[in-house]
C-alpha cells in the first residue's frame, strides 16, 4: 500500500512507496512483453486525463497504461471544451466529479494545480505536470530506467543539463534522485538556473565538458522555448557550444554511461542529429525510447497501487 492517496510531488513519497512502485513496474513490464498486453486488474475503474496543456507522450503513456489494465479512460483536452466559454477549473472538475470518476490525471500550466484539484475533489490525483513545479511520474520512470541499467544506483553520477529554471522535470528529478542517494549535479548557464539553487544542494557547472568524462547518466533537458517570455540566451549556437551534446562529446563519455531525455528532443539544439541517429544503430547509449517503454510500466504500477 502507498502512504499517499495521490501522486502530487516527490516529497510526499516515502522510500517504501518509491520501491513499491519500481518493483511493481517490473511485473507490468513483463505484461508489456506478452502478445496479449492486457490484465483485467482495473476493470470497471474510470480514469480521466485532464490536460490543460498540450502533451503527446505523457497523455498517450497514461492512456496506454490505463487501457492495458482494462480501465476506462476519458480524455479531456482543455482547448476543445467549455473552458473556452469561461468555465473555471473548479466548475470543470465538478462536472467531471458528477460523472463519478475514480482517478484524475492532471496537467496544468499553474504550479500547485494538481494539489488544488485533489483538495477540492478528494479523488485520487496524479500530477502529470503542474507549471514549473513538478512532474513526479517522469522522475519515477527516469529513476526506474537508471535502476534497470545500473542496479546499485547509489554510486551513480547524474548530470542534468539545460534549462533548469523552467523545468518541472528537472525539479522532480533532482528531488527524487537525491532522495535515493544518487550523486546529482546540474549543468546550466547562470541565467537558466533558479535563484535558490542552495535549496537543491547539488553541484553546479556551466559547461557540459566539465562533466562529460565522469558522468554515468547525462540527462538532457529540452529548451523550453514556449516558456521563455524574454530571451534568456544569446543564440542557439552559444547554447550548443556550452550545453549541446554532439558526437565529439559523446566519444569522451565512459563506456557504460547513458544519455536520457524526457522528450520531445529539439534535434540540433540539445542533441545533434548525429547523436540522435545512434538510436537507430541499436546502441545502448541513448535510452530515450527505453524511457518511453518503461514509462508505461511505471504508470501502470502507479494506477494499480492507487486504484487496485
Amino acid at each position: 500500500m502507498l502512504s499517499v492517496k495521490s501522486i502530487l510531488n516527490v516529497e510526499d513519497l516515502s522510500l517504501e512507496d518509491i520501491n513499491l512502485v519500481l518493483s511493481n513496474a517490473d511485473s507490468f513490464l513483463e505484461v508489456l512483453k506478452r502478445d496479449l498486453k492486457k490484465v483485467p486488474t482495473l476493470r470497471g475503474k474510470t480514469i480521466i486525463n485532464l490536460f490543460f496543456e498540450p502533451s503527446t507522450r505523457t497523455k498517450t503513456s497514461f492512456e496506454l497504461a490505463a487501457k492495458r489494465m482494462n480501465a476506462d479512460l476519458v480524455n479531456f483536452s482543455a482547448p476543445t471544451s467549455s473552458l473556452k466559454k469561461g468555465e473555471s477549473i473548479i466548475d470543470t472538475v465538478k462536472t467531471i466529479i458528477a460523472m463519478k470518476v475514480d482517478l484524475i490525471i492532471v496537467r496544468h500550466p499553474d504550479s500547485g494545480a494538481a494539489k488544488f484539484i485533489f483538495k477540492k475533489t478528494n479523488i485520487p490525483v496524479i500530477n502529470a505536470g503542474d507549471g514549473k513545479n513538478e512532474h513526479p511520474t517522469q522522475a519515477l520512470l527516469d529513476l526506474y530506467t537508471i535502476r534497470k541499467k545500473f542496479k546499485d544506483y547509489k554510486k551513480v553520477k547524474v548530470a542534468i543539463v539545460g534549462d533548469i529554471l523552467n523545468s518541472r522535470v528537472a525539479r522532480s528529478n533532482i528531488k527524487l534522485f537525491k532522495k535515493m542517494g544518487l550523486d546529482v549535479s546540474v549543468v546550466s548557464p547562470p541565467m537558466l538556473l533558479p535563484e535558490n539553487m542552495d535549496y537543491f544542494n547539488v553541484g553546479i557547472k556551466h559547461n557540459i565538458d566539465d562533466v562529460i568524462e565522469d558522468v554515468d547518466v547525462l540527462y538532457m533537458l529540452r529548451m523550453q522555448f514556449e516558456r521563455h517570455s524574454r530571451k534568456l540566451y544569446p543564440s542557439i549556437r552559444e547554447y550548443n557550444e556550452y550545453l549541446g551534446l554532439n558526437m565529439d562529446r559523446v566519444s569522451k563519455m565512459k563506456k557504460e554511461s547513458i544519455v536520457m531525455h524526457p522528450g520531445p528532443v529539439n534535434r540540433g539544439i540539445e542533441i545533434s542529429e548525429e547523436v540522435m541517429n545512434l538510436n537507430d544503430k541499436s546502441s545502448d547509449r541513448l535510452l530515450i525510447d527505453t524511457q518511453v517503454t518503461y514509462g508505461v510500466a511505471v504508470r501502470m504500477a502507479l494506477l494499480y497501487l492507487l486504484l487496485g
Binding site: 517490473d26 511485473s27 513483463e30 505484461v31 486488474t41 497501487l305
Partner: protein, 183 residues
C-alpha cells in the same frame, strides 16, 4: 504480506512424506499423459513454483527429458482487488509457447478455487493450450467455485478457522505441512 498468527495443531506431512507424494504424482502424470512429450509445467507463485520444479525434475530423471517450467503470478487477475491488503507481486515468467501444450499447473493448497480460476484466466491470455491439468500438494476442501484438481498430494478436511501451512525448503528453509489454528 503480514505474517498470520498461527498455532500449530497437527503435522500432516514431513520432508520424507512430501518427497514420496511428489514422486507418486510424477508417475501419475506420466501414466495419464502416456509420457512427457507435450508437457510443460507452470507453478503458481509462490510455493507452486518450487513444487513444479521438483516434479518436473523427477519426470526429467525418469524420462531423460528436459521439460520447460514457468512461473505465474496471478495478482493482477484476482477477483478481490481492492478488498484486502495488496499481496506482494511476484514475477511471471513463461519463456515458452503454451499453444497446443498440455500444461501441468501446480499450486500448494487448493481451497476456495479462486486462485485457480484466476490462473486459468491468466493462462488463456497467453494462448490456447491443448489442456490444463492441476496438481495440488494439499486439497483442503471448501470450494466456492466448480474447480477440481487432477492430482492431489493429500486430502485434508479442515474447518474455516484453520489454516494449512505449507513450508518448502526453497522458500522457507524446511519441508513441512501442518494444520494451524488462526489466533
Amino acid at each position: 504480506m503480514k505474517e498470520k498468527t498461527l498455532k500449530e495443531k497437527a503435522l500432516i506431512l514431513n520432508e520424507i512424506d512430501i518427497d514420496r507424494v511428489l514422486k507418486r504424482i510424477s508417475h501419475e502424470i506420466l501414466e495419464r499423459n502416456k509420457g512427457s512429450k507435450n508437457l510443460v509445467f507452470i507453478g503458481i507463485q509462490k510455493r507452486g513454483v518450487p513444487l513444479a520444479k521438483r516434479i518436473s525434475k523427477s519426470i526429467d530423471d525418469l524420462e531423460k527429458s528436459k521439460i520447460k517450467v514457468g512461473k505465474l503470478d496471478i495478482t493482477f487477475y484476482r477477483d478481490d482487488i481492492g478488498k484486502k491488503i495488496k499481496p506482494e507481486v511476484e514475477i511471471t515468467d513463461i519463456p515458452f509457447e503454451i499453444v497446443d501444450k498440455d500444461i501441468i499447473l501446480v499450486d500448494d493448497v487448493l481451497y476456495t478455487g479462486r486462485t485457480i480460476r484466476a490462473s486459468l484466466d491468466a493462462l488463456i491470455d497467453f494462448g490456447r493450450p491443448k489442456s490444463i491439468q492441476l496438481v495440488v500438494l494439499i486439497d483442503r476442501g471448501h470450494r466456492e467455485l466448480p474447480i477440481r484438481a487432477d492430482y492431489v498430494g493429500k486430502n485434508i478436511p479442515t474447518s474455516e478457522d484453520e489454516f494449512v501451512d505449507v513450508k518448502l525448503k526453497e522458500v522457507d528453509g524446511i519441508d513441512r505441512v501442518t494444520i494451524c489454528e488462526k489466533i
